[in-house]
């Protein structure tokens, strides 16, 4: 069975540019969450979508946005990139939005130069 897949795996962008990260959840999973992980720290919650509706937003600026498509895949968009946006971006999917396991994809390593 395919796990959570993210693309691309690595990305280098210049300050001020825009980036789109993609996530395909495990088949049948309806909840997708995005996390940012800076080196040496735990993942930090950015967004959650369940059944194509935003269910939560973390403490991130409006430059960060996301959406979920009818097939439950998701995109994370970041505008006006800053050096501090360099991190591992993780996507996690779960079947339901509560009381169930969440599984992570391999992440997208974003480097802003």
């Amino acid at each position: 069975d395919a796990g959570v897949t993210q693309s691309p795996t690595h990305l280098i962008k210049t300050r001020g540019q825009h980036v789109t990260l993609r996530c395909s959840p495990i088949s049948g999973h309806k909840s997708v969450s995005w996390y940012q992980q800076v080196l040496g720290q735990g993942p930090q919650f950015i967004f959650q979508y369940y059944e194509k509706e935003e269910r939560g937003r973390g403490n991130f600026p409006d430059r960060f946005s996301a959406r979920q498509f009818p097939n439950y895949s998701s995109e994370l968009n970041v505008n006006a990139l800053l050096l501090g946006d360099s991190a591992l971006y993780l996507c996690a999917s779960s079947f339901l939005d509560r009381n169930t396991e969440a599984f992570f994809g391999q992440g997208t390593r974003l480097t802003v130069v």
Binding site: V32, G58, F104
Partner: protein, 112 residues
């Protein structure tokens, strides 16, 4: 407020046991444990739900004290493959699995 994990780091010999603790200042609905190896994604280990239900790997055990807002992960007879950074993720409020607040991590190194 993120959960606080202790210890921050631990070094073991193969076969030794370890306990990793996770403490929250907010009421916990569920606790999720993950292991992450360098350069890889976090791997799901266990979920502990309010009320006592647990789901996870057979060889991993954990406890969840709802009153004390604490959880502990027990690693027994450690193997080299147990090395990595362990994170606890806390779900508060209504138990939303999709919005986990993670601790800072505990680095475990198992030596031969």
């Amino acid at each position: 407020q993120q959960p606080v994990q202790s210890p921050q780091a631990v070094i073991l010999r193969e076969g030794e046991d370890a306990v990793i603790n996770c403490s929250s200042s907010k009421a916990l609905y569920s606790v999720h444990w993950y292991r992450q190896k360098h350069g890889e994604a976090p791997v799901f280990l266990m979920i502990l739900l309010k009320g006592g239900e647990q789901k996870g790997h057979e060889k991993i055990s954990a406890s969840f004290n709802e009153k004390k807002q604490q959880s502990s992960l027990y690693l027994t007879a450690s193997q080299l493959s147990y090395s990595g950074t362990y994170f606890c993720g806390a779900s508060t409020g209504s138990g939303n699995t999709g919005k986990l607040i993670f601790g800072q991590g505990t680095t475990l190194q198992v030596k031969p």
